[in-house]
Amino acid sequence: MFTEKTLRQMRDGMDKWLAEVRKALNSSSARKFSTVSDLDIKPIYTPEDIKDLDFASIGYPGFYPFTRGVQATGYRGRPWTIRLFSGFGTASDTNQRWHQLLKEGETGLSTAFDFPTLMGYDSDSPRARAEVGKCGVAIDTLADMEVLTEGIPLDKVSTSMTINPPASVLWAMYLAAAEKQGVGWDKVTGTIQNDMLKEFVAQKTFMCPPGPSIRLVSDTIEFGTKHVPRWNTISISGYHIREAGSTAVQELAFTLADGIAYVQDVINRKKMDVDDFAPRLSFFFNSHIDFFEEIAKFRAARRMWAKIMKERFKAKNPRSLWLRFHTQTAGCSLTAQQPFNNVIRTTTEALAAVLGGTQSLHTNSLDEVLALPSDFAVNIALRTQQVIAEETGVINTIDPLAGSYFVETLTNELEEKAWEYIEKIDKMGGMLAAIERGFPQLEIANAAYKFQQQIDSGEKIMTGVNKYQGGEETPMELLKIDEKVEAEQVKRLREIKRTRDNRKVAQKLDGLRSACKSDRNVMPYVIEAVREYATKQEICDVYREVFGEYRDPGFF
């Protein structure tokens, strides 16, 4: 990268600098300078650090290995989607919030479902008691989905749905709702998260055991490839892995390892060509509080995935090599103490995601440690992205930090360390095998415990929590979910069950059951059931019946 002359000059300068530094610091400082994930950072980075770097590994945006981005035109060609994760109460409540956000400038929708929905239970299930509408919107049948999407042109707006075990069901409802709007499946755009592996590793909304869960994922990928071409049928996620306490390297490695497992399964099970479906795979990362570590992580992710798709899976279509991702700023970095500080945290995390080239971004609201976002807080979250996009100038040039001695070194380091994990997982027989023996779960639990100890000892700081405490307690208006929501939803559900054609529902569920027992793709059967207003639990109960239920093995 550099001529011998430049390097010599640089080394002379370095010696002078070191001498100066030694004078200034008589004793070595006791404080560690490391990232939030404990990667040690040097005081200074110089050309020496990247002297062996091949320019080809940085390259150009839109060209292999995509370190600088998957789009050649960067944000100048197409800004990132402002996509705020939202949902609460009934479909009607959420529909209102969605319209409001779109009006305020959001450019894509993102659905937060309540826990009963996430876990495949209806609002009238005893397991749903006190949970309906609390963490997200309650969607029991197609009727709810129709209300949720009312007034929203499904051929123009892309919708992301954070849903995992019942992803096939909610997606079917969305597709059926689009039908009712007169929008063809070739027009709808959006994403379903549909990433079961990370559930077993981190988020723990699971239903059926890993084997059948992967089958359902592959079914949706196959169906999407054939019938819903503008849909991302999976969002391979690292966000939750990080929220569970992993390091940046682990987030990177485990997410990509999950991706490898999914690609392999679709190829094996569906005998599809990798280039048929790979372009529609998408990813979802966390943007945590350590600014540069995150930027480096995003760049490393793109490069690594491109290599994986090219070398391991021999993909030919350039789009198969693209790692497109959505980012959410780190929920676990926010504090309940002095919540307004969270605005600053979210801002720097959002900035890191933008400098890292994310395709789509959610910014947390300042009150999310306490409740779902209030109107006031969600507005600030939205404006944060708009200020970054319109005022700071960071979008003027693509991948502005390329060439930085520090950032390129850090990108390489994260990549190297992540490869080590992936090799380890390969040796275990892949991610499924690694999950079975608890490897990623234990790594994460250890990292989480270590971090907590560092907070408790003061080695790592959280402002307002273990340093700079006190200060005025600002009274805040928190969003409260009306207890009536549950009763309303249950009433509505009962009414639907009464007025639909129950015989047809039973028929369709039988059809689904038989499909599950065979190796036919379940999606068409789910869609048929959903059209008859089968509930999500009725469909999930079929899954549970045929595939069994997964119990938390509690890896510590």
Partner: protein, 311 residues
């Protein structure tokens, strides 16, 4: 008396408190043991051992279901190691059996080893006795397989089940520990893995080598996939088959006698260990000094403590 009545009626609250008192060596609880013990002897005891990661807890979760289907009342004693550094423990076996957490006729109790090596402590036996007195028909003992521990288990249980997993290097362990002679049933769990067939063949070969007379019990090998509840029924059948064999061959009496002998030994050992704690500190210190200075020898010193008049 009242406590005993409650326990005999199956009162979980009372039984749980008694188990705790016995575990902690609380005098009132220890006094109850005499009464409780007289009401034991009904429950059938199954010991389940195997290396960590073999899937014992998950397997037990399945077995509980199988025996509940047979309308039997089930008890489980699950033991996890106490951390030698901190004295604390995470008792994580119950977690994998929690699907039975709402069944009134299933009693699961987690115990920390509290320094006992080999996973079989008096607390374990006392817990079994209380569950027995409560009316449990079958009680499962689960612990970490650690050579000696497995052997102890086998001596205490009516049926001793050893759980192996393909590819964990189990073959060598089983030969070393002498477990081949002691185990009544072998389970190969995670049998979908590569190497399951090989493990089965190795086991069969080794079993063929150990001398057993005809008329003696021939240990069976059951393949399971506990995580999918596969192989549970055959395993339950095998346990019942072993039980039937013990009864018809008269071996049951022998085993129960063996258990009693082991319990007596454990009780004596425990009482002796107590002696060290209850002996007057200064007297003890002087003995230790004398020993260190070669003024006496270990055996004479020990006898001095043992023969001390009881205060």
């Amino acid at each position: 008396m009242e406590l005993l009545e409650k326990v005999l009626k199956g009162d979980v609250l009372a039984a749980a408190k008694l188990i705790r008192g016995l575990e902690d060596g609380v005098p009132e609880a220890v006094a109850e043991l005499e009464n409780v013990y007289r009401h034991t002897g009904h429950a059938y005891i199954v010991g389940v051992s195997g290396a960590p990661g073999a899937g014992k807890s998950t397997l037990l979760g399945c077995l509980i279901g199988a025996f509940r289907k047979r309308n039997m009342k089930v008890g489980v004693v699950a033991i996890d190691p106490t951390s030698p550094l901190t004295g604390g423990a995470i008792l994580g076996d119950r977690l994998r059996m929690q699907s039975h957490g709402a069944d009134k006729d299933v009693f699961i109790r987690s115990l920390a080893s509290r320094g006992w090596k080999g996973g079989l402590s008096r607390a374990t036996m006392n817990t079994v006795h209380v569950m027995d007195a409560m009316g449990k028909d079958i009680i499962f003992l689960e612990a970490v397989g650690s050579g000696q521990g497995e052997v102890d288990f086998a001596r205490v249980a009516d049926t001793s089940v050893v759980v192996l997993v393909p590819g964990m290097g189990d073959e060598i362990q089983t030969m070393k520990a002498g477990i081949m002679e002691m185990a009544d049933i072998f389970v190969i769990n995670k049998s979908e893995r590569d190497g399951a067939e090989n493990l089965k063949m190795s086991l069969e070969a080794m079993l063929a080598m150990t001398t057993r007379q005809s008329g003696e019990w021939q240990p069976g090998i059951v393949l399971t996939e506990a995580i999918l509840d596969k192989g549970t029924e055959p395993l339950a059948e095998e346990i019942m088959r072993h039980r039937a064999f013990l009864v018809s061959s008269g071996d049951m009496t022998k085993r129960r006698r063996r258990r009693a002998e082991l319990e007596l030994t454990m009780a004596v050992e425990s009482a002796l260990r107590n002696l060290m704690e209850t002996t007057d500190g200064r007297y003890l210190a002087k003995l230790v000094d004398d020993l260190a200075n070669r003024k006496t020898d270990p055996i004479s010193a020990a006898l001095k403590i043992i023969n001390l008049p009881k205060t």
